[in-house]
């Protein structure tokens, strides 16, 4: 039986398969230059000749040309009708920056993504030092009444600041501490909380005593 290909295209494919292989990889190497018009005439003609017979390469080159046409059009997107107003509202009360505004710098510092984590870390380190210090450190400090007496005013102001700050950071700190609470040994977390509560009660009592 005669198995030789009768269709000229099939014959070409059969010859290529037994010699150089299909030239599609060569097309991949030249396709961008071809689409950009960077190939010389002879090479471009050769490539066109292949494309006329290879559906896959032809689709690839068409997709390349189409994406080249569409990509620059993706540079802009419509953020919606209220976007400009939102930007203008959020910049209208801000002075044009000079980079020396301490308040703005402090705000930027507070808005940093890791501020809650860093605060929690410092708090945890301080807590651990308090829990495991070889010396009962609170016995080294004079009675609270003694050191709080000259600090009544500043202490009250500090308390107000702490309360205000706490409102903003409590949620973030809760989120940060949740995994620690869940993974810490049961007794350790309870002891730490009891210790902090004890300190807060002592400070509260001292403040009350100093300012009845």
């Amino acid at each position: 039986m005669d198995t030789r290909p009768r269709d000229p295209e099939a014959l070409t494919q059969a010859i290529l398969a037994r010699t150089s292989g299909a030239p599609c990889r060569r097309v991949e190497a030249l396709a961008c230059d071809f689409v950009d018009g960077g190939l010389d005439g002879a090479q471009a003609d050769l490539l066109r000749g292949h494309l006329a017979h290879c559906a896959a390469c032809s689709a690839l080159v068409r997709a390349l040309a189409e994406s080249g046409r569409l990509l620059p059009a993706l540079a802009e997107a419509d953020p919606g009708p209220w976007f400009t107003q939102r930007v203008l509202r959020s910049t209208s009360r801000r002075p044009a920056a000079r980079g020396t505004d301490a308040r703005a710098a402090w705000r930027r510092l507070l808005h940093r993504p890791r501020i809650a984590l860093e605060a929690a870390y410092l708090g945890a380190v301080a807590g651990m030092m308090g829990l495991y210090a070889p010396v009962p450190w609170h016995s080294l400090v004079p009675p609270a009444q003694v050191w709080t007496a000259p600090l009544q005013g500043p202490a009250q102001r500090l308390t107000r600041v702490v309360v205000r700050t706490e409102r903003h950071t409590a949620a973030a700190l809760r989120r940060t501490f949740r995994p620690l609470r869940e993974t810490a040994p049961a007794g350790l977390w309870r002891r730490a909380v009891a210790k902090v509560r004890g300190w807060l009660k002592r400070i509260e009592a001292a403040l009350k005593q100093a300012n009845p």
């Binding site: 689709a59 993706l74 540079a75 997107a77 919606g80 976007f83 930007v87 044009a96 920056a97 980079g99």
Partner: protein
Amino acid sequence: MEPTPLLALVRSGDELAWEAFVRRFQGRVFGLAYHYTAQAEDARDLAQEVFIRIYQNLALVPDEDGCLPWILRITRNACIDHLRRGKARPPLWDLSADELFDLRSPDQSPEEAHLEAVRKTMVHRALQELTDLNREIILLKEIQGLGLEEIAALLDVPVGTVKSRSSRARLELAQKLAAAGMGG
């Protein structure tokens, strides 16, 4: 108005000039942010944050040709920070891309406009399937039109790498589009 006189007016505190500046660049900033985040709301927040940053650093905005690359650079940095913060969160598609890229030309019929929007959506989706470096090179070179040197500086890779990667990235994108039926 050219960027330089507009910037001079913005720096002098002219609110109308600032509005014109925002309107002029908001599409580019939001477009780039959307390509990175794939979420319209996140992209909007990031774009707003970028404009606030620009407003706070007006003295640093370069004049003329350097203006847009500088804006795109800080937009990219904001997007990278955002993605790093939410690395564990998989990207979600909260709004179809054809609504976002529906900046149709007035001489297009509704059918043509729809087909164009579908094609843009296909390209946008195919972009998300590229490797990070290839996607960034396409975003910055083919979409935003930055030069090879600017991209190399931005991505901290040699110019030669950007050049060779650019063709490979375009080809990879075209292969994905051809597989999705575009060009067939």
